[in-house]
């Protein structure tokens, strides 16, 4: 009797452990459990090949590493969190594709070789995680932005250049918004970055929201595939940075 109680309690105990046990990291990074605790701990996580993270193997330019995250194979998703384990500031972006395809592209700064990952939260509250290793000669986050070095960033801040492409069931928008995106890791230059961009149509329907963090590149270039109930409507972007500057732009057909 005593023995069976012990067995049962052991079984219970081990099942409790496995409920919190982390899936084995296919990228074998010692930081994975810390990353999970920092950004994902509310919900269980599993590694899932349907989350595509496209980035070059080697950061040719550590200040501008291109990345595409594509979770369209998962259907409807609530949130996409993008981070690099070994960056001094790991968190890169959080994307909420409310009325948009779960797919985005941009460029970011990498400090050293690191896994670069996207965790995608589906409606059933499970994180689906994909990622790749990006090698780097280093130095992307601790170099002053060109705008700081030249000193002319304030002349151009918020200037936005872009274009919109119509597809059958979405509009792709791509744009460049001028901003130093200072990481705060360079002595004497405090962190200064765009915090949020929100996209809506003329009816006020929120299409998508993205929260950006320090590792996003200087003068960011971003791509989104937006949907919503009226694909012909102009798309309005509003946003702000951590110093209270406000930005807006409009993408018309």
């Amino acid at each position: 009797m005593k023995k069976s109680v012990l067995v049962i309690s052991l079984l219970l105990f081990s099942s409790l452990i496995s409920a919190h046990e982390l899936a084995k990291d296919p990228l074998s990074s010692v930081q994975w459990s810390d990353m999970y605790r920092a950004f994902l701990k509310e919900y269980p996580a599993e590694f899932d090949d349907r989350v595509k993270v496209l980035a070059p193997d080697f950061a040719e330019d550590p200040m501008n590493v291109p990345i595409t995250v594509d979770a369209t194979a998962l259907g409807k998703v609530k949130e996409i969190v993008i981070f690099a384990d070994f960056n001094p500031i790991p968190l890169i972006a959080k994307y909420y594709p409310i009325n948009a395809k779960p797919r985005l592209s941009f460029r970011f700064k990498i400090q050293q070789a690191s896994p670069v990952r996207a965790a995608v939260l589906t409606e059933d509250n499970i994180w689906h995680v994909g990622g790749v290793w990006v090698n780097s000669a280093g130095g992307g986050c601790t170099v002053a932005s060109t705008g700081r070095l030249v000193g002319d960033w304030s002349d151009y801040i918020g200037d936005t250049y872009g274009k919109r492409w119509s597809h059958a069931d979405y509009n792709r928008i791509r744009f460049k918004i001028h901003h130093p995106m200072d990481t705060g890791l360079v002595t004497g230059i405090p962190d200064f970055y765009i915090e949020e961009l929100e996209f809506s149509n003329a009816a006020g329907e929120n299409l998508a929201t993205i929260l950006l963090y320090e590792p996003i590149n200087e003068n960011p270039v971003l791509s989104f595939d937006l949907q919503g109930s009226n694909l012909a409507s102009p798309i309005r972007m509003v946003g702000d940075d951590n110093n209270g500057n406000e930005f807006e732009a409009e993408f018309v057909k």
Partner: protein, 313 residues
């Protein structure tokens, strides 16, 4: 005691395995290839920099004149420069007359320290570029090829090469200042032998690199090079040839690259999409095609996408 013995063995084993990796003792195994009268080339591989090749991915060369040896480019490291000098000694007992650098990329000039006793000529732009970027290049090469670089440091050129012909020991050498691969690209034409050292203005059977490229200027340069008369072409990378096909192939790739990036930007592709485009079959014979095209997207695409964008606020 047993533990100590074990540690000793372990230490010895790890030492031996390190030595095994470096069994070649950082020997580039440079082989002189005679390509014309008085003219020799050290032909590098068409790979990228690696711990295995120590950075020997470049063609360097020398001309034996009656006034001494003229060296064209000094290679990726001090070791390379020294070994090059040893190999030259095996060909001629003439002393080194001077060095000419084709441009400021690290695989072409980081052997300079081995030639600090002679004049090292470079275009003015090349000297400026070495001053601004040389140290960064050196750090980067230490990371990419490791201990092969031991002792290597930037040695700036000591003389400014000017457009025109100089006569050295019976060889009429014409300095041709161009740009396009970088802001200062020297080609050296030996009118006496008909040998053209093109530097990296020409990559042959090896995909060209673009970290400092200006495609329009590069195309204009090659157009101008089409008018040169030469018998032997020593490209910066890839096999030596005896006709102008390499120039035609360069124009073909550069023109295609420009069009492909323009179209991709107008189609709304992101960099990662562009890197995954199918590449034309006719370029498949060029080494490093996929890798160099991806790098070129990172170097060049931002300019193309900005051309496709309009001001939105």
């Amino acid at each position: 005691m047993k533990m100590k013995k074990y540690l000793q063995t372990l230490f010895l084993a790890s030492f031996l395995s390190i030595s095994a990796v470096n069994a070649n003792d950082f020997d580039y195994q440079l082989k002189t290839v005679k390509v014309a009268q008085d003219t020799y080339v050290f032909e590098g591989s068409t790979e990228d920099f690696s711990f295995e090749n120590g950075g020997n991915i470049v063609n360097t060369g020398f001309i034996v004149t009656s006034a001494g040896v003229v060296v064209i480019d000094t290679g990726p490291s001090l070791r390379y420069g020294k070994q090059m000098r040893e190999a030259i000694k095996a060909v001629t007992n003439k002393s080194i007359h001077s060095v000419y650098l084709t441009h400021h990329h690290p695989d072409h000039f980081l052997g300079n320290q081995a030639y600090k006793d002679v004049k090292i000529h470079a275009l003015a732009e090349t000297s400026v570029n070495i001053k601004n970027e040389g140290a960064g290049f050196t750090d980067n090469l230490y990371l990419m090829v490791g201990d092969w670089m031991g002792g290597t440091d930037v040695l700036a050129p000591s003389a400014t090469a000017k457009e025109g012909t100089v006569s050295i020991g019976g060889h009429e050498l014409e300095v041709l200042p161009y740009s396009g691969h970088t802001s200062g690209d020297m080609a050296l034409l030996d009118h006496t032998t008909g040998v053209l050292f093109s530097g990296d203005l020409i990559f042959h059977k090896r995909t060209l690199t673009t970290p400092h490229a200006d495609i329009d200027k590069w195309l204009a340069t090659i157009k101008s090079m089409q008018t040169l008369s030469f018998k032997t072409l020593i490209p910066g990378h890839g096999p030596i040839s005896h006709d102008k096909n390499a120039l035609v192939e360069m124009v073909d790739y550069l023109t295609w690259l420009d069009k492909a990036l323009t179209k991709a930007a107008n189609d709304g592709l992101a960099m990662t999409d562009v890197m995954r485009l199918n590449l034309p079959q006719r370029f498949m014979g060029n080494a490093q095609l996929k890798q160099e095209f991806s790098r070129s997207v990172i170097h060049l695409f931002a300019k193309y996408e900005l051309r496709a964008f309009k001001r939105l606020n």
